[in-house]
């Protein structure tokens, strides 16, 4: 599953709680206080010199219950974070975005890109004691495909058949080549289930029972209170992407569910919880100065942007969209709305995303009020009463729909001022998050601010700009046959060079068309008390399997 889709709830949670997330500055300083940790950076040297100690229960605070641990019926970000602790996947996505062995020790892709053969590790057992075999893999993916109510099964729709010729081999045959198939197999929801456990629990699977091969066993879940996990002592098949090859260092993990931000931070400051996810941007400075705790700021693949409905006048005119882009001073937004926790975004993909187009930096608009004004002049919008531009008696007004509460409230306030300077009036309307997502697929949206998470270019370009993704997530109503053709080809052409060219074409075209005005790549924040060591945040998987984390006594 592509986290973008799956993580949209996550995105919401993040936006909702004024959390701020993002990507690194030009020259990150690993390990220095206050500096963001670049994606994939190893634990800081101070931590590395200490030998990991065993023992202790790690207490983690979540802001909501993860709904269910059945990976095939949820889209909740928090569920994926727990699933990653209990389960393994066939393959894993490394910190740098490459694929590393998981339950599969190696894999082979046929030249036509349609047959994927995986060789599975031997000696792997589920928590219940049952041996893991290819039958479980076949069962898991067939269950996912056949779950009609699954919100995520479209991610693996190209699968034609799954065979398990022997216990250590599993073979997927696709209806057509699908270049992001490995991405999907490494995805948050593609964890391997135990057929026996799933069938035994029936509709209670993921609620009262969960069984996997992962580093932590599911012990109990008291609804709206806590989830208790214990170390899997037999765990000897950890992915080489992690440092600790064996069982986890801590005895177990207790996830406490504390919905209110202030309460969660008070518990953290008091040292009652070891790790707290998504510290609100406004609290980061204060907590960074609090003795005994620190805030890890990390890069993630994330972009907050202003999107346009490209069919709604006057924003059906690319010049008007470009003018808005040019009128935005992103440094002001990062400083004023994100409390400095992020980098100005000029492109939808972060520069460290695979297939990022090197020419994007040149092509993307920079802050230039004069050029913005002249474009609006060209488009026929002339200065009118109160400094607002007019054309044919119409004022140049941009309705802007935002999610409240969230960072976009502050972002919108700054945008109002910046766009007023070039004669564009912004009419901001705040929505509760669920209502926003309902409204923003109505087709009536004009301008809107939202944040997205992704793992690869497909998760942004195909997902948001392909014409058949209307009315959502293609809320731009963007439909360009050429772009569609490139996007389709990027998924099925086995030639990486062609794919690269396709992705570059799409990036260039969407920048030229000014479909969006990217605003900020937000930094992620994680609160950690000093005793917690070995913390390394993944750009899209948070703490992943948490096998390297340990508690200093």
């Amino acid at each position: 599953m592509r986290p973008t889709g799956g993580l949209s709830l996550a995105a919401l949670l993040v936006v909702l709680s004024v959390l701020v997330v993002s990507c690194a500055p030009a020259a990150p300083q690993p390990g220095t206080t206050g500096g963001p940790t670049p994606a994939g950076q190893a634990p800081t040297s101070a931590q590395a010199t200490d030998a990991p100690q065993r023992g202790g229960t790690l207490i983690v605070a979540f802001n909501a219950d993860p709904e269910t641990l059945d990976p095939h019926i949820t889209t909740a970000l928090l569920a994926t974070r727990v699933l990653a602790l209990i389960h393994d996947s066939l393959i894993n996505r490394d910190y740098d975005g490459s694929f590393k062995p998981g339950l599969a020790e190696k894999w082979d892709i046929s030249p036509d890109g349609k047959v994927y053969t995986f060789t599975l590790k031997k000696g792997v057992k589920f928590h219940s004691g049952k041996d893991f075999t290819s039958a479980d893999v076949k069962y898991t993916f067939e269950r996912w495909l056949n779950t009609e109510k699954s919100p995520t099964s479209f991610a693996i729709k190209p699968i034609d058949k799954i065979e398990a010729p022997d216990p250590q081999t599993v073979r997927f045959t696709l209806k057509e080549p699908y270049n992001i198939f490995l991405d999907q197999l490494a995805g948050s929801f593609a964890v391997i289930l135990n057929q026996e456990a799933v069938e035994k629990a029936g509709s209670d699977y993921g609620i009262t029972a969960a069984d996997g091969t992962g580093p932590y066993k599911f012990i109990s879940w008291t609804r709206n209170q806590k989830i208790v996990l214990a170390r899997n002592d037999a765990y000897a098949w950890n992915s080489p992407m992690f440092q600790n090859p064996g069982p986890a260092y801590v005895d177990g993990i207790e996830i406490r569910i504390i919905p209110e931000d202030n309460t969660r931070l008070a518990e953290f400051q008091a040292g009652n919880v070891h790790l707290v996810q998504d510290v609100p941007a406004g609290d980061v400075d204060r907590l960074s100065k609090t003795p005994g705790v620190s805030i890890v700021k990390y890069e993630q693949l994330q972009t907050s942007y202003l999107g346009f409905n490209t069919t709604k006048p006057p924003f059906d005119d690319p010049r008007v969209r470009q003018a808005v882009n040019l009128a935005i001073n992103r440094d002001e937004i990062v400083a004023g709305a994100n409390f400095g926790l992020g980098t100005p975004a000029r492109t939808m993909l972060t520069p460290n995303t695979p297939f990022y187009w090197a020419g994007a930096d040149q092509a993307a608009p920079t802050f230039d009020q004069a050029k913005s004004a002249s474009l609006l002049d060209q488009a026929g919008w002339t200065p009118g009463a109160g400094g607002i531009r007019e054309k044919g008696g119409q004022q140049l007004v941009m309705p802007l729909w935002i999610i409240s509460p969230g960072t976009s409230v502050l972002q919108a306030q700054i945008l109002e001022q910046q766009l007023a300077r070039v004669g564009v009036k912004v009419d901001t309307k705040q929505y509760e998050q669920t209502a926003w997502f309902a409204a923003a697929r109505s087709g009536e949206q004009v301008g809107f601010i939202v944040g997205i998470f992704f793992e690869n270019p497909d998760g942004v370009l195909y997902f948001y700009f392909y014409s058949k993704q209307q009315p959502a997530p293609n809320r731009f109503m963007y439909a360009v046959p050429e772009v569609d053709k490139w996007l389709e080809e990027s998924r099925v052409n086995p030639d990486q060079n062609v794919v690269r060219q396709d992705y570059e074409n799409v990036q260039k075209r969407t920048i030229d068309d000014a479909v969006t005005a990217p605003l900020v790549h937000e930094l992620g924040t994680l609160g950690r008390v000093d005793a917690v060591q070995g913390v390394r945040v993944h750009p899209s998987r948070w703490l992943y399997r948490m096998t390297d984390v340990w508690l200093k006594k």
Partner: protein
């Protein structure tokens, strides 16, 4: 009396029917489709449609309601759309926690409020009276979340007397009692303040009566006058309001439970509404309605015992 109680109980299903229709309509008027929420905001329309079909959300509203009602009449509140857990399990897990919290708050309220009101009335016009009334005004006007954070900061973080948040166990255990203290106090403060003011004014009214003057004239000690002749006679309005407060306490302390991460019915309802979990909202609201009706009935019955002049037909 028995007849009255039976009549009131027979009305209960009617009340519940009204409540369920109202909640059903409101839920369907609020923007945000549960299938969309489940699928995630970026899911393709086919996925949303498949989930709608599976949940029966694609059918006409009256039909959806009829199906729901039929299930409820057969004792099935359905499953949560999000967790797929039986709604009855979710509600029954949360209910004891809310009851414990409300119980402690309901016990604390009169214990604090009545003495404060009596003292203020007995010392009418003194700085003590003014001080108490000022504090009670603060208690009424302070937003619950501000009070909660204040308590948390002082007693949980600085003094470390009580846990900052969470459920520590049943209230008859030490950990449980400690964990319930701050949320129960937060919950009780508003009621305490309101009730203290009411007690004071009721007391003042009674203390101006002729029989009180008579009691003083025959040489009773002031404490005896205030308590035996004053308080007993001032209690009726106090009980009325206390009853209403208890009903409110029991029907879910939405803010208090959320702020203190207290796993009760109020927090469950907030979560259900946020996630557009229709069956879960329906289930929690029905349970809250039942409690509200029953508590009100109990209060009405209690009147008749406190004041023999009251009769029900």
């Amino acid at each position: 009396m028995t007849q009255y109680i039976v009549r009131r109980l027979l009305l209960l299903p009617l009340v519940l029917f009204g409540v369920s229709v109202l909640v059903f309509l409101v839920l369907h008027l609020v923007p945000g489709n549960p299938a969309q929420v489940i699928a995630g905001p970026d899911a393709p329309p086919e996925t949303v449609a498949a989930i709608e079909r599976e949940l029966g959300l694609d059918r006409p509203l009256p039909e959806q309601y009829a199906l729901y009602l039929n299930r409820v009449l057969h004792g099935d509140l359905g499953r949560s759309l999000r967790s797929r857990r039986a709604v009855i399990d979710d509600v029954m897990d949360a209910l004891p926690n809310t009851l414990q919290l409300a119980l402690v708050a309901a016990v604390v309220t009169p214990i604090l409020a009545i003495p404060l009101g009596v003292i203020a009335a007995a010392r009418r016009g003194t700085p003590l009276d003014s001080g108490l009334m000022l504090v009670s005004m603060l208690g009424i006007t302070l937003p619950v979340f501000a009070l909660a954070l204040g308590f948390m900061w002082v007693f949980g973080y600085q003094l470390r007397l009580f846990p900052i948040s969470g459920y520590g166990g049943p209230i008859w255990t030490l950990n449980g009692l400690r964990s319930v203290t701050l949320p129960a106090l937060t919950l009780a403060i508003g009621s305490v303040a309101a009730l203290a003011r009411l007690t004071r004014s009721a007391m003042l009214e009674v203390l101006n009566q002729d029989y009180v003057r008579t009691a003083r004239a025959k040489g009773l000690r002031e404490n005896g006058v205030v308590l035996r002749h004053g308080l007993i006679n001032a209690l009726l309005p106090v009980i009325t309001v206390l009853g209403l407060q208890v009903a409110v306490l029991l029907s879910g302390a939405f803010v208090t439970e959320t702020v203190f991460a207290w796993p009760g019915v109020g927090r469950l309802a907030v979560f259900a509404i946020q996630s557009r979990d229709f069956p879960l909202v329906q289930g929690t609201v029905l349970v809250i309605a039942v409690i509200f009706v029953l508590v009100n009935l109990a209060i009405d019955v209690l009147y008749a015992y406190v004041d023999p002049r009251i009769h029900y037909q």
